[in-house]
C-alpha cells in the first residue's frame, strides 16, 4: 500500500468538497455533542443515585400525642415501633428524633427564612429515622409494617422526593438522546451523500483505477479515510463544544444545586472522559456509513 498516494487522494478529496466537508463535520459535531450530553446526563444520574443511596432514609413520623408525650422514645408505643423496626433484617439502624431535635434541625435548614419564625416544636412530629440495609425492598417493607400501627402518623420515603429529581435528569437524558438520534440520522445521510458526491466527482479516477487493476481496498480507502477524518473532526469539535458548554452554561445552570450537594457537579474530567469516547464513536459511525454507501451505491 502506497501511503503517500492515499494521503494525496484524501487531501485532494477533502479540499475539492470543502463546503460539503464542513457541513458534514458540523452535523456530526452537533450529533456527537448531543450524544455526549446524554452520556454526561447518565453519568450524573448514576453518581447522584450513588450519593443518595447512602443518605436516604425512611422517616416514620409519630402521631401528635406520642410525639409530645415521649421525648426520648422510652415509652411502650414508641419503644414497640422502634423494636419492630430494629428487628427487621432489611433495616440497618433506627434513630429517634424528638420534636425538639426536629425543631432545631428545621431552624437550621430554614435559617433566615420567615417559615423558621412561625414554626413551633409542637407543630413538628417526632420521627424514627430508618436507615435501610436493603435499598431495593426495605422502604416498601417498612411502609407495610408501619401501616396502621398505633402511634404512627405517616411514613415518608425520601426516595419519593428525590425520585422527581431522577425523573427530571432521566427526562433530560431521554430528550438529548432522542435529539442525538434524529441528528445522527441527518449526519449519516450527509456522510452517505458526501461519499457519493466525492466518488462522483472522482468517477474518472475511480474508473481508471478499476481498469488498471487497483484492488477494491485501494479504490475505496481514500473515500473511507475522508469519511473517518470528518467523523473524527466532528467528534473533536463536539468535545471542544462540551468543554465550552461546561464553563459557559452547565456550571451556571447547576451552580445552586451542585453546591448544596443535591447533585454532584459536572467536572472537567467528566467532560473530557466523555469527549474522548466521542472520537471512536464518530470514527466508527462515519467509517461504517462510508463503507456501506460504497458497497451499496458506488461501483468502485
Amino acid at each position: 500500500m502506497r501511503t503517500d498516494f492515499v494521503r494525496r487522494e484524501v487531501t485532494t478529496g477533502l479540499r475539492r468538497n470543502v463546503t460539503m466537508t464542513i457541513a458534514m463535520v458540523l452535523t456530526t459535531a452537533i450529533s456527537l455533542a448531543l450524544v455526549g450530553t446524554g452520556l454526561l446526563a447518565v453519568r450524573t444520574i448514576d453518581s447522584t443515585e450513588a450519593i443518595y443511596a447512602d443518605r436516604l432514609e425512611v422517616q416514620v413520623a409519630l402521631t401528635q400525642d406520642v410525639s409530645s408525650a415521649d421525648t426520648d422514645c422510652s415509652q411502650p408505643i414508641c419503644q414497640g415501633i422502634e423494636t419492630t423496626l430494629q428487628n427487621s433484617p432489611l433495616v440497618e439502624s433506627v434513630t429517634y428524633e424528638s420534636q425538639q431535635a426536629a425543631y432545631e434541625r428545621f431552624q437550621e435548614l430554614f435559617a433566615g427564612q420567615s417559615i423558621a419564625d412561625v414554626a413551633r416544636p409542637q407543630s413538628l412530629p417526632a420521627t424514627l429515622r430508618v436507615k435501610l440495609a436493603d435499598q431495593d425492598n426495605g422502604a416498601e417493607a417498612v411502609r407495610q409494617a408501619m401501616n396502621g400501627q398505633v402511634g404512627v402518623r405517616t411514613v415518608i420515603d425520601q426516595r419519593d422526593v428525590v425520585g422527581k429529581l431522577f425523573d427530571f435528569l432521566g427526562g433530560v437524558r431521554n430528550v438529548t438522546f432522542a435529539l442525538a438520534l434524529v441528528q445522527a440520522i441527518a449526519a449519516l445521510l450527509l456522510i452517505s451523500n458526501t461519499v457519493q458526491v466525492s466518488a462522483y466527482t472522482r468517477r474518472v479516477e475511480v474508473g481508471v483505477m478499476r481498469l488498471v487493476g487497483a484492488t477494491r481496498w485501494y479504490t475505496q480507502l481514500p473515500f473511507l479515510i475522508e469519511a473517518v477524518i470528518t467523523g473524527v473532526a466532528g467528534a473533536v469539535l463536539a468535545g471542544v463544544g462540551l468543554v465550552v458548554a461546561k464553563f459557559v452554561f452547565i456550571d451556571d445552570l447547576l451552580a445552586g444545586i451542585a453546591q448544596n450537594g443535591v447533585i454532584p457537579p459536572v467536572t472537567i474530567f467528566d467532560v473530557l472522559e466523555t469527549s474522548i469516547w466521542l472520537v471512536p464513536i464518530g470514527a466508527a459511525i462515519a467509517g461504517v456509513t462510508g463503507y456501506v454507501t460504497l458497497r451499496l451505491y458506488v461501483k468502485v
Partner: protein, 232 residues
C-alpha cells in the same frame, strides 16, 4: 491468450442477446480488429473480457484466467494483465502527462523507484519524451491518445483492448496512433481493437472479426472492413 467459447450475453432490458453463442480464439501476439455496426456487440465483447460484465452462458479465458469464475477479489489481477484505451482518452485533467501514466502504477502499489524508471521509458516509446510535465489540455488529441496508450501499456499488459481509439482523431493522426499500436503489438502484446474506421482496417490487413446482431458473421486472418470492398 483470449478464448470465448459459445458466449452469450443477455441484458435484462433487451429481448435480443447482445452476444449470441460467440466463439473466438485470439493467440498471443495477434492483432485483431473487431468490427460491426453500432449495437452489434463489440463493446459487450470488450466488457466481458475485462469482467465489467459476466456472460449469461459460455466460457471466457483471458491470459489463462477463467474470467467468469474469477472470484471478485482476483478481478484486479485480471485487469493488471489487460491495458485499455478508449475513444475519449479518459485522462485525469488535473494530473500532468507523467502523473497520468504514473497513476496507473501508483494505484496497484508499485514502488516509486519503479515508477520513476518506467514512466520516462514508456513516454519515449509513445513519442512523448520531454512532455511529462505538460497538462493534458495543453496537448493535441493525438498526443492525448498517446498518453492514454502509455498509461495502458506502462504495466506491460499481455493484452491491449482499444475501443475506437481513433474515433476522435483526424486520418493522419489516426495513422500515427495505429503505427504506435503496431509497435506495441510487435513487443508481443495481443491487441484487440474495436473500430468503425474502414481505411485503417483496410490498410493494415490484419485479422478481422465482424459482429452483427451479437453473432460472429466473419473471421478473416487478413481481412478488410467490408467484404465487397475486399473484392473490389
Amino acid at each position: 491468450m483470449i478464448r470465448l467459447e459459445r458466449v452469450t450475453k443477455m441484458y435484462k432490458t433487451s429481448t435480443r442477446p447482445a452476444l449470441d453463442r460467440v466463439s473466438v480464439s485470439v493467440e498471443k501476439g495477434e492483432f485483431v480488429f473487431l468490427i460491426g455496426p453500432s449495437g452489434s456487440g463489440k463493446s459487450t465483447f470488450l466488457r466481458l473480457l475485462l469482467r465489467e460484465d459476466l456472460p449469461t452462458r459460455g466460457k471466457i479465458t483471458v491470459a489463462d484466467l477463467d474470467v467468469a469464475k474469477l472470484p471478485r477479489r482476483r478481478v484486479p489481477r485480471l485487469r493488471q494483465r489487460i491495458g485499455c484505451v478508449f475513444q475519449d482518452f479518459r485522462l485525469l485533467p488535473n494530473k500532468t502527462v507523467g502523473g497520468n501514466v504514473a497513476f496507473a502504477l501508483e494505484v496497484i502499489g508499485k514502488p516509486q523507484s519503479t515508477i520513476g524508471r518506467v514512466v520516462p521509458e514508456v513516454l519515449e516509446l509513445v513519442g512523448l519524451e520531454g512532455k511529462a510535465d505538460r497538462m493534458p489540455h495543453e496537448l493535441s488529441g493525438g498526443e492525448q491518445q498517446r498518453v492514454a496508450i502509455a498509461r495502458a501499456f506502462v504495466n506491460r499488459p499481455l493484452v491491449l483492448l482499444a475501443d475506437e481509439p481513433t474515433g476522435n482523431l483526424d486520418p493522419d493522426t489516426s495513422q500515427d496512433i495505429m503505427l504506435l499500436l503496431e509497435r506495441i503489438n510487435r513487443t508481443g502484446t495481443t491487441v484487440v481493437m474495436a473500430t468503425h474506421d474502414h481505411s485503417i482496417v483496410d490498410s493494415m490487413r490484419r485479422r478481422v472479426v465482424e459482429l452483427d446482431l451479437g453473432q460472429v458473421v466473419r473471421d478473416e486472418s487478413r481481412g478488410v472492413y467490408g467484404v465487397g470492398r475486399a473484392q473490389a
